[in-house]
Symmetry: C4
Subunit: 209 residues, 4 copies
Amino acid sequence: MQKEHFLDRFHRNERLIGLSDGVFSIVLTLLVLELRIPQFPHHPTATELWQALERIGPKIISFLLSFLFIASLWFTHNQLFKLFDKVDNAMLWYNNFLLLVICFIPFPTALIGEYPDNPVGIALFGSIWVMVPLLIYLIGSRAYHKNYLHHTVDRNRYRFLRNLTLIYAPLSAIPIAFAWTIPKLAFAIYILMMIGGIVAGFFVKVVED
Amino acid sequence: MQKEHFLDRFHRNERLIGLSDGVFSIVLTLLVLELRIPQFPHHPTATELWQALERIGPKIISFLLSFLFIASLWFTHNQLFKLFDKVDNAMLWYNNFLLLVICFIPFPTALIGEYPDNPVGIALFGSIWVMVPLLIYLIGSRAYHKNYLHHTVDRNRYRFLRNLTLIYAPLSAIPIAFAWTIPKLAFAIYILMMIGGIVAGFFVKVVED
Amino acid sequence: MQKEHFLDRFHRNERLIGLSDGVFSIVLTLLVLELRIPQFPHHPTATELWQALERIGPKIISFLLSFLFIASLWFTHNQLFKLFDKVDNAMLWYNNFLLLVICFIPFPTALIGEYPDNPVGIALFGSIWVMVPLLIYLIGSRAYHKNYLHHTVDRNRYRFLRNLTLIYAPLSAIPIAFAWTIPKLAFAIYILMMIGGIVAGFFVKVVED
Amino acid sequence: MQKEHFLDRFHRNERLIGLSDGVFSIVLTLLVLELRIPQFPHHPTATELWQALERIGPKIISFLLSFLFIASLWFTHNQLFKLFDKVDNAMLWYNNFLLLVICFIPFPTALIGEYPDNPVGIALFGSIWVMVPLLIYLIGSRAYHKNYLHHTVDRNRYRFLRNLTLIYAPLSAIPIAFAWTIPKLAFAIYILMMIGGIVAGFFVKVVED
């Protein structure tokens, strides 16, 4: 193998992708384990079973939301790392911390599913919304300054999006303050932010076809 | 790296495959966790242990069926995505929703294993049979209209199979109606549909060798 | 992309590898979940905690054995599939059934860990030892007859090993008969077979460097 | 496919990477499952829920430490295997044993989380710190003597690092002796060793860009 070919493989680091996709797929799949089948002392009728499922409704909603949230993080992660020719040690560790935050998501999710009106779960969930854009900013910024971007990437748009990520982090902290007085509003804002993020993802384009 | 080579890698999106195979393999493996070892107050004799295993027979059958169902979904997913030169944002999100449905499969599976005669589990299982072909239709249709198919794909056969998928979705809804009166028949139909699907998969061919 | 290049990618089917490695790594990792931390009504002394760990000794041994067994299956799977230029639909399904058997391994493992002297667990474990070589034979045989082997593979040695696999299956069934009378002997034979298999794996060579 | 190209693929063994990354990502993700949501007989106030979370503080710290430890092992594994042109059967098995040790990490982690002052958990944790560098030494040494290193690797630096690993193993055993008298000190030393290892990883360089 030629030295250049070797260095290309050496630097691109497909294992960062392998580890990250592994963590994403496991977290996505583990979320459903929170949904426990209702237990009955006798054989339940269809109506009884249906009502029991309705009672775990908040858990099903929190499962759906967390799934969408993690799926949209994967989408962003995917779009970002595709732009890099090289990944260095610092970026590997920023990514490890990002995976740490992602692995933690099922915990506040389960808290919100169990105690939907309690601000603690929503505040923990919100703090994830602060840390994720900060870590993405660190990764994106490092790649920019170290010149690891592929040459077809539009640097102006890339810089604009990177700065947007930086603004996003403190804004995400605001609903944590709300959480203690109007938890439902804080939660609703996070849901809107997520849907907005997914929709915006369709229009983001930093590489010309 | 050349621009064309980069765009080829950029568009093919092997991470969609990585994430999907991760989810498929975890869901397949988690199914066996539903099989709990029988507990005894004393050291059981071979006969006692064997009888205890017979009693969890319905769970073992529901484990086998779900494994085959998810394995056949993986097979279809595999055959489909091999045909695409490119995957776009819309297809990524259709696929995320497909993975959401697949992650949900262990829940109705566990319901059917616990309450085999109750229509609720079978109805939930059936609704998965409706959503899966719809999402596969959306993915396949998008690739067709956006011209992402590899040039060796036979477009007539592809279109024929895509339309078949669309017919399949409402047909899969019919046994849900049965489920409330004759649950065993509804379940049997889904099993026959699955076996039919696996057998049919051997004859489907949209690329000439 | 050229047609030949496309067909090469189309046929080699890296997703079979992706799905299989996913299943192998999850089954390997889930085995440790059977090891539960001992619980105490008070803060235990070092001696108490150590004795409690000694009491779960059989579980630790069954964890180690299952890990080695599955790791050696992965090793064989790896050695085998490296030889193929192409994988077809039948082989995909034989492999799916192989994965089904592998996913099932934690169940008899847990049975043996809980009831080490009970023949039922050992008989179930033994039946896995019969099914695995049969499925490997089917995969290897299909590749041979359909001419999917890479041209550097030594066909005589390949055929010899394939036939060995076929003999291995009925031989693996013999200790199941023992299991009902001398369970410890049956289990010891499986352990010896596994160690023998790992050692033999070092000398198997069907491709010249 | 040409014979040389085939052998290159045959020897590099991307499946070792696939299996290892699978195991790493699952172990990282499973760690969070140890964090159970606090249960209350009534709807807790924010203060009550917060205090309940504070009580599981040691578990959260042991979660963070294990995550960092396993992430830094992945980092080392990644840096090491990138240097090899070829991986042989012996290295596959050394790696399998390394994965066995990694899969075992959640067990002493849970022990330390549950009984932070008990030396048994810390001694088990410490024995992992002895086995990991030994296995890494075996892998690195085999690659060196069999000449599997890529030609751009600086052999002097590689040899120096390999010998460092060998010194590291017995040094890691020293805190195990401490553990029985001053468990907190032994644990603190392992944490310092981990942080030192992560920092050192940034300066290790065996390939010139």
